[in-house]
């Protein structure tokens, strides 16, 4: 399961990400931004490696989540204007969605390190 980082605001987000990424994957891990806007994840498909962090930022009015279809990880509710981050697990299908608005779908292609 990915490490869920309940964060909001730039400073605590950066701090939490730094701790999590260093702890889980070393210095080569990347931080990737995914914007939620117009009821879509953008970009909808990204290539990642285990240990990379994804920061989901919600620009819609309503709360959303990013939740793995296989149930292996989820963010908390992401309120409008807020961000939540996960760290990519070693394994997983990569498909994810918003549990409130299942029409919203994204996919992570998880490549080996």
């Amino acid at each position: 399961m990915g490490i869920l980082l309940p964060v909001s605001g730039v400073v605590p987000l950066a701090f939490a990400l730094a701790l999590a990424v260093c702890a889980s994957a070393g210095a080569s891990a990347r931080t990737i931004d995914v914007v939620i806007e117009h009821f879509a994840f953008m970009p909808a498909q990204i290539e990642v490696m285990p240990g990379d962090a994804i920061v989901f930022t919600n620009r819609d009015i309503t709360p959303h989540t990013a939740t793995a279809t296989d149930g292996s990880w989820t963010t908390k509710d992401i309120a409008s204007g807020k961000s939540e981050a996960i760290v990519i697990p070693a394994k997983g299908d990569g498909a994810y969605f918003c549990k409130y608005h299942p029409v919203m779908k994204g996919r992570l292609t998880i490549k080996p390190p």
Partner: protein, 175 residues
């Protein structure tokens, strides 16, 4: 204005929902639209709370919970915007008709139970969102003067479109 709104309602067979309201001849102003949009959100939250009291069907309850969550968020964002813009939403005939007919619909829903309630709630949600989406897109957004408010209502209508699709799925699932 009256004829345009009546047409929007007639599209989904809801003409009786707002019977002969005393609409003004001119389009609603920004502050009147803000009031009507907030009222419409509030009304759908009220319907959802009735559903959460009466229904044991998971699909109905999940939809109702989503309506409470999303429409509450929309109204909070609307309040934040009107505060930022320094304006006060203005009550109007459209809002009053929504309230009046909403009370009748709530009474109707409260009088139902079981499968009959589920069907009535689901169909009302579909029809309600169809009317709202059409009204916002065709009547309100084109006439809104403030650019920030126009963007807000455009974004809000995305929510309502998603709800409409979800409601259609809910109705189909009950057949």
């Amino acid at each position: 204005m009256k004829s345009r709104i009546t047409f929007a309602l007639a599209v989904v067979g809801l003409t009786a929902m707002i019977a002969s309201p005393p609409y003004a001849a001119d389009p609603l102003s920004d502050v009147e639209i803000a009031h009507a949009a907030y009222t419409a959100d509030d009304l759908d939250i009220a319907y959802a709370k009735i559903a959460l009291e009466k229904s044991k069907t998971s699909a109905i309850r999940e939809f109702a919970e989503l309506m409470v969550k999303d429409h509450t968020a929309a109204n909070q964002a609307a309040l934040a915007l009107v505060k930022k813009l320094g304006v006060t939403p203005k009550d109007n005939a459209f809002s009053q008709a929504l309230v009046k007919n909403g009370e009748a619909k709530k009474a109707e829903l409260r009088g139902l139970s079981g499968a009959a309630f589920d069907k009535a709630y689901a169909q009302n949600e579909l029809a309600y969102h169809q009317v709202v989406v059409k009204t916002v897109a065709e009547q309100w957004i084109p006439t809104i003067q403030n650019a920030e408010f126009k963007k807000f209502m455009t974004d809000a209508n995305e929510i309502f479109r998603v709800h409409q699709a979800h409601a259609q799925h809910m109705v189909d699932g009950l057949k």
